[in-house]
Symmetry: C2
Subunit: 557 residues, 2 copies
Amino acid sequence: MKIVIIGGVAAGTNAAVRARRNSEEAEIVIYDRDVDVAHAGFATHYAVGGQVDSMDDLVPKKPKWFKEYYNIDVHTSHEVTSIDHERKTVFVKNLTTDEEFEDTYDALVFANGTVFGVPPVFRGREFDNLFQIKNVQRGRKLQNYINETNPKTAVVIGTGYIGLGVSEQLTKAGIKVRTLDFLKYPMAQLDHDMSTYIADILEENDVKFHGNEGVVELTANGKYLEHVITSQGNDYEADLYILATGVRPNTALAESIGVELGETRAIAVNDKMETNLPGVYAVGDVAEAYHAITKEPMYLPLATTATKMGRIAGDVITGGDLRFRGILGTSAVRLFGQTIAATGMTEIAAREKGYDPVVLTTTQPDVLKFMGGKDMLIKAVADPETETLLGVQMIGPEGVERRIDVFATAMTLGAKVSDLFHLDLAFTPPISTPKDPVMYTGMALTNALDNSPLIMPEDLVQMMEEKEEVVIVDVRNEEAYEKEHIEDAINIPLKSLRENMDQLDPEKRTVVYCNSGQTSYNAQRILLNNEFKEVYNLSGGNNNYQIVLKDIQKNRE
Amino acid sequence: MKIVIIGGVAAGTNAAVRARRNSEEAEIVIYDRDVDVAHAGFATHYAVGGQVDSMDDLVPKKPKWFKEYYNIDVHTSHEVTSIDHERKTVFVKNLTTDEEFEDTYDALVFANGTVFGVPPVFRGREFDNLFQIKNVQRGRKLQNYINETNPKTAVVIGTGYIGLGVSEQLTKAGIKVRTLDFLKYPMAQLDHDMSTYIADILEENDVKFHGNEGVVELTANGKYLEHVITSQGNDYEADLYILATGVRPNTALAESIGVELGETRAIAVNDKMETNLPGVYAVGDVAEAYHAITKEPMYLPLATTATKMGRIAGDVITGGDLRFRGILGTSAVRLFGQTIAATGMTEIAAREKGYDPVVLTTTQPDVLKFMGGKDMLIKAVADPETETLLGVQMIGPEGVERRIDVFATAMTLGAKVSDLFHLDLAFTPPISTPKDPVMYTGMALTNALDNSPLIMPEDLVQMMEEKEEVVIVDVRNEEAYEKEHIEDAINIPLKSLRENMDQLDPEKRTVVYCNSGQTSYNAQRILLNNEFKEVYNLSGGNNNYQIVLKDIQKNRE
């Protein structure tokens, strides 16, 4: 059994190592056109920003190590240029010597990752001051450029995970950053209300964000990019440009031998990571995953998924029974002291898939307030049919990754929202609260599904605009009400609600709200337990309402 | 419906609030003999140590607040002195005025917590410089005493969660602390190997620990405790003494009306929190819980469980369908920058319950090493029959609470160890690793259950002592081997194992080890895949072996 793996980063090396652990007989060869193997290319910007000591730390393993420890032959700077699958032969070019040779395989694994998704105006053009984030080699070039030219300003094009991470690290390196995205919001894969918070984080840290602005024109002086001109007609100038407009699966080589792609245009694989061609596998960023909840094809190139897929392919090829079970798309980015994380579906995605979700927006402290707890924002999307979570999005300075992981675990294992209250999670004053944010989310969603319905801010806005009959009650104290309240809302503070209930009509549809939705839940219970016919609690309270309202108004401008 | 709740801390207030949210009609009364309601008494030592700004922060809510927001009548400084359950009447004493009165109930809830478990020599004795940690009142006394007398030294008796937390906080307040425990180890509810690490943490932070030392004699000057003399004959002197020898359920009042106790001597309840008497409930630290895995009665007074139980009782009393589902005993303490956490059963407990567990000890970084990741110690106990986790214990500076919560969630939801690899957990370089410690633990246990058996250090020690035939191979490099190795072990570094395999006999039982068990797993795979008959990987490697060996030797002294 001879296994040839094309690509030696997370997916490829995991496939190789797992295969070796299962079998001493297999001959295992990795070809990678990069100069490095098993590199942490996803982290090069942290070396630029100084959070990683040296770019060398991102390449801890050499081909020699793989040979000695795993008897795996790793050939870096070797490109597989073509394949004759009938003869089970790969044609390889040594990029250092230009020597070309053939190699044969019994099993072939595509682990050759991605290519950049480059906006048309940048295609085929290279500039000395334009960089992309991918591997350590490119990271070194960027670092050298910064060290040598000491740029003062940067434009980062694209505000996904990489774009945001790079913006933060360049800012830490003392560079003034402007970010552009052809989509309206940063991290537009999240719901708009969450993206709005991210825009605020950028703003607070002196990073300018321009949405709805793609780059449509360039001016350059030879190899030096001078200006970018956007779809809005704006002209931005900077010393340094980063192109972080995403990636797409590097499928050309696989397609050349008849490997089929899935609907996401990544290589279609089954749960054994097998392609349509016998003996040919695809793993990592070149392969298509599927959503663990909807079971639909999904493309999200992340190291976590690459690691899983690689290990599964290595196991399957050597006779093991590991199978891929899909992903939730759990992802995170750290941005100026805040962690932004998401798992499962957003509200937008859930609605697109035909769900009519119950959506809770709330803020909860990571630890007890008197221990210095800081609020995290939680947006949880649940399916009323199955009473399970469809997805959660979170932002906060501490403890976000902990809760998103518990949510992801609960979702993977099929928990209902009512199960979350029963979790026995770790508590001691310095690390959490006795009623953890995860439990609170489960309780609030259970209540909402049971007898305490939520209303979304956008639905309330629509009701008001369409002059539907609805009584809106602000149950905060007078001071909060005076400072800012929802148009048309009357103020009856919770503590005097029981005695002032006669101001309200139990026959009329009523919406109650406070700042975050927690206090108004009590008001909702009081009214419902006093025979009010239809009472809704405003999801996320006034805080969330004002954000959504601003967004609606902005969209109309 | 009138509900009388005895005790207004976590369990009692949660019962009251849930009952009110379900019903506006119920009359709800809480009696508590304490001056405070809903206090965070569990955190008073953090106010002493300065981590909480003011002791007042621990009592954010007053009776008036409960009345205004929830229409709940909270009577603090009111003791229920006796009960006539036939007449459904409680006799109450106002501790401020000494006035006595009667009140009636339809439902009675015991939420009256714990009493101190006091060693015989301390019983019935009070000293001005001896303190216990329980409520805010006692916290204020301790704080005042420290402020006024400026103690230089303290003896903390008892090293459970409270004893350790207090020792840390007193140290932070500049006091030199000595800790005693009549058990041999600190946190003796954990496995000894974990406790050994805790003893090291104390030592490193200049806190002396004396195990196997109970206090058997006192010398005092009036109300001033001067010396404690221990079962070892040692005489310790300090300016300040803390008694943290645990608590037991405060069952006397309940017993007086015929409420039955369970085998843990806490009040026996069913999953509705009902006692044997109709209309009488017990919740929180006075009530017995049960283990979610073994289903056996369990007593572990924690705020997390109290909160759950209270909410369930409040729901049941007002017609709800919430039911208690048992606990895993998840718990944590923060100690000098390290978090110690546990969920489910220890190895000792598992063996006592008749399991023959597979036990993995490993160290894993919380985030990628190049991002500053620090190792956490993980000890995971799995049941080979069901292939599920029985329990996990962890120690580490960062990320422990996150992983213990994921383990607890997985255990609660019935995950097999092989499911953990498939979790889609959050990754970005500053917050974790692509193969999270939880996933790693699941993978390693799956391997151990499948085809790569582990051996425990104590079993290897026994084998060697009984001169059983076993070949021990240290697969680390020569330098590590020379520095310290297991007696009888030969050294074949992993990278030369394939070429030196002929030094070994495939027919002989072989044990391989490295520092932590991760590298030697590869050695084990190589040998097993080369037809070796019986190869074990040493759980936790040399690091763990040396700790266990030292412990065994110490026990024989």
